[in-house]
Amino acid sequence: MVPRIRSAPAAGLVLLLGLIACTNNSLPVPSGTPTTVTATAQPEAATGAPSASATVTVDTFVPYPAGTQTGDAAVDDVVRAFLGRDLAAMRSLARLRDVPCTTAVDSAAPTCPTGSPAGSTVSVLLGQGCHPVFWQLGELANALPFQVERITLLAVAAPKDASLAGGHFVLFGIQSGGVVRGWGITASRDGFVEIDAGCGVAPDVLLQKDGRAPFLLELRRLQ
């Protein structure tokens, strides 16, 4: 709470100026020009050119029906939990890794819990996206896209990352605002070890980044 000293004439003047300001409905238009302005409504949005490869419509790929068996029980467990938006099941399937943490701000390493010194070990799930993120188990609700309109299974492939050999890259489509984007989970033999939020790319782009043949389920395009 900040005490303020004001005078009645000053308040009247502010009121008058406010009334004048309210009559001016012109909005600042962010144009890249450095400027300081005060607006009475949100500044007009920039119009970015649509990116053809960034997103796809809901009909571009053919999802596999819920209940589809991949032939790998561990993968099926992960798929069932993810499609069912079952946070508790996802927590039980998450396979964390122990890595040293940091107390530095804006570092690429996981942040130490309050009170823990730099270099102490934390158990985290590796997340990819627009940059790596280290998710602690308690943060998994923030990591998973369980509030989107629709989640579908699109493909299951081998992981491109050789260190994840033996696992499977599971590609999902997440639909929000009528747009489908790719979302990936790397399943291990008894759970999953990594998630990839995709940085907003289309499913086929994410599959190209994280997956490779052989496929348990191939990505199917609508003919």
């Binding site: 709470m1 900040v2 005490p3 000293i5 004001r6 005078s7 009645a8 004439p9 406010g18 300001a21 962010p30 890249g32 450095p34 400027t35 300081t36 302005v37 005060t38 607006a39 009475t40 409504a41 949100q42 500044p43 949005a45 920039a46 970015g48 050119a49 649509p50 990116s51 530095a104 701000v105 804006d106 570092s107 690429a108 996981p110 942040t111 997340g127 990819q128 996206g129 627009c130 940059h131 993120v133 280290f134 943060e139 923030n142 990591a143 896209p145 369980f146 509030q147 989107v148 997440i174 929000s176 605002g177 747009v179 984007r181 979302w183 939020a197 995709g198 940085c199 907003g200 790319v201």
Partner: protein
């Protein structure tokens, strides 16, 4: 004599009252005002896509243009007055490892209420050292545009402390007094005109 004095006193009181009502005389009054402003999404688009929900370091969120390309989109310090007094935003510091800028929000009395780091943006060279967060409507201050590629990322010859794999605005919030919007979910898009990230309050 006493009657005259009373009359004079009454007349003076009446004149003073009228003057006060008319606003001609300054009336100083101290009162406690709660300033409340919202820190909004910096990306200048109609709808922002949350590619990664709140995560460390600090309280960070990754935002993209839900309706098209994110690269080159303007980024503003966008704040919205809710109630009470104006605040002041300061150009706090440049982000050391990646490309970005930090803004700090203070009350008129100088108390720091929070900071926002706008990361992976091509920082404008014309950001003022401070700007007033008005006690009405929106206040916007141009900070730069979403950079692509991030020159400080390891793959671009940068450093290991600047992880980056695609164009986005990484908005990181420190809140001294207030709250972060925990209702934002990864994979969803939100209207930038109505979606707050941080509610600052003194």
């Amino acid at each position: 004599m006493r009657r005259i004095s009373r009359r004079i006193t009454a007349v003076v009181a009446a004149v003073v009252s009228l003057a006060l009502l008319a606003g001609f005389l300054p009336v100083t009054r101290a009162y406690a005002s709660t300033a409340q402003h919202d820190i909004m999404i910096g990306l200048a688009v109609a709808n922002a896509y949350v590619s990664q929900g709140w995560h460390s370091p600090g309280q960070s969120i990754d935002l993209q243009n839900a309706g098209g390309s994110t690269a080159g989109v303007s980024v503003y310090s966008q704040t919205k007055w809710i109630s009470g007094d104006a605040m002041v935003a300061y150009k706090a510091s440049y982000i050391s490892d990646c490309t970005g800028i930090k803004a700090e929000y203070k009350t008129g009395g100088g108390a720091t209420l929070g900071r926002t780091a706008y990361v992976h943006i091509n920082v404008s060279g014309s950001i003022p050292s401070s700007w007033n967060m008005a006690a009405s409507g929106w206040t916007v201050e141009y900070l730069g545009s979403v950079i692509n590629p991030e020159p400080n990322a390891p793959g671009q010859g940068g450093n290991d402390n600047c992880a980056w794999t695609g164009p986005h605005e990484h908005q990181s919030e420190e809140v001294a007094t207030g709250s972060v919007n925990s209702g934002l979910s990864a994979g969803n898009s939100y209207a930038t005109g109505s979606t707050w990230l941080v509610h600052l309050s003194d």
